[in-house]
Subunit: 277 residues, 2 copies
């Protein structure tokens, strides 16, 4: 099948993040098409919508193909301006909001950007959770492990830090991270071993294929002992032995994105989201 | 209007993040309804779907109201199992994928979780961008400012760090952050002033209402000089004077979520996303 090219617009009266998320998930189903993507956030007036359609119509003319538009525009008047352009219009507001209004038996507030508008307590939880993830990065301090929702354990570069930060931003989860190094846990007399066993129920292990780990480490530190395959094999082996010996639940993240790792942790540890509840 | 209560499920064969994002953006339009939300990720077999519908049907029975389901289930057979339960089914795959297939003139790959599946280069960009944001948090080091896509300037607790981390995770943007303190910039002989002027085009300012800043700082450090209103007013005043004197673009983030701040920065600085391009 020859590769196709299509232009796609994500248009919103707010950040356009919902339009992008939905659109990307659908476009990911078409491997053979190359998509040129443009995001137009904050289209919150008919004047801005008219600016947008000059771009859309121009591209339609040049490419002789209608651009695809993913819209979360809430205002019906602005939406109509874009719909009148030379495009294929996918509308997640009109499609779902009208039946939802009917089902709930009340009109929606039709508030632009309600979802990503700042809510006081949400902001603070996020700030706190992100700051928490940063303070606890790489086991710098263990003194606040009692307030952690989850403590990730794994070898260096197994994805603990991005996962902690993602859990904080997306769900308001307080995630600490404790690096699994050669010396930790092996000596049960060590202070940190005692500290960690106190919080055993919060521990969750990440493991990774040693060859993949070698590849990740080698990108930044090529030809180092740290990035060598024997070193990666030894560290991963010890980490997995520990997870089994101490009965710490763990997943293999070799083929997982940060979103997938986070979703597995939430599900397995039955963590309550602090955002969107 | 009396407050209503409704149960909502987000169901996916993958992380359910797309279902949550779309669903939350729609539910945010109904202020008067209290939603009990359950996320069921990784429903990737008819057996798991059958487990899900026992929960859905049980809640329908207890509450005497059909639960609302937001689904991104790709597999038609699994989807049908859920659709047969006692629920109101909102389906973003069937609704949009079929017309998209028609428009693109080809079948979709019907790949479960294609969007949040790990792609090699995406993972590395994210890891690198998140690590970059952490290394450069609070201006700890300025030596890699030349690789920054954007450098955020603002007083302590104006939202620089969560924004940097969000830009890294969501878009793969390399965002550094430089704290605006009383002494920076004021003395033009200072080394950091010279360093920053080198990267002037990358600078972007965040300002905030002093009363709001006082509230944020007081939560963590009550009754401190740092959190006092005069201190907040003085710092914000100096930061804004600097932005104007040095012609640094800036936004007031008082009423903005991290998503909104990030979307404004991307748009204003015309930054190219390293993810999803």
């Amino acid at each position: 099948m020859p590769n196709k090219k299509r232009t796609v617009f994500f248009i919103s009266d707010s950040t356009a993040i919902t339009a992008e998320t939905l659109g990307h998930s659908l476009l990911a189903q078409f491997d053979h098409v190359q998509f040129h993507q443009f995001t137009l956030p904050f289209v919150d007036s008919t004047d801005k919508a008219k600016e947008a359609i000059t771009i859309i119509d121009e591209i339609a003319k040049i490419t002789e193909t209608k651009p695809i538009v993913f819209s979360t525009l809430v205002n019906a008047e602005i939406r109509q301006v874009i719909k009148n352009s030379n495009c294929i219009f996918f509308d997640s507001i009109d499609t779902f909001l009208t039946p939802l209004e009917k089902e709930l038996g009340m009109p929606s507030s039709q508030m632009v950007g309600s979802y990503h508008k700042l809510k006081d307590n949400i902001y603070d939880v996020r700030m706190d959770a992100v700051n928490y993830a940063l303070v606890h990065d790489d086991g710098i301090t263990m003194k606040n492990f009692d307030t952690a929702d989850v403590i990730l354990v794994g070898v260096s570069r197994s994805g603990k830090t991005p996962t902690c930060v993602y859990l904080a931003l997306q769900f308001g989860i307080f995630a600490a991270n404790y690096p699994r190094t050669e010396e930790n846990f092996v000596n049960k007399d060590r202070k940190d071993y005692a500290a960690l066993t106190l919080f055993k129920k919060k521990l969750f292990g990440l493991t990774i294929n040693p060859a993949r780990l070698q590849k990740i480490r080698s990108e930044r530190w090529p030809n180092s002992r740290y990035a060598s395959l024997p070193q990666c094999q030894a560290e991963v082996g010890m980490a997995e032995a520990l997870f089994i010996a101490e009965d710490i639940p763990y997943i293999n993240v070799t083929m997982m994105s940060v979103e997938e790792i986070a979703a597995h942790i939430l599900q397995f540890q039955k963590l309550q989201r602090r955002l969107f509840t």
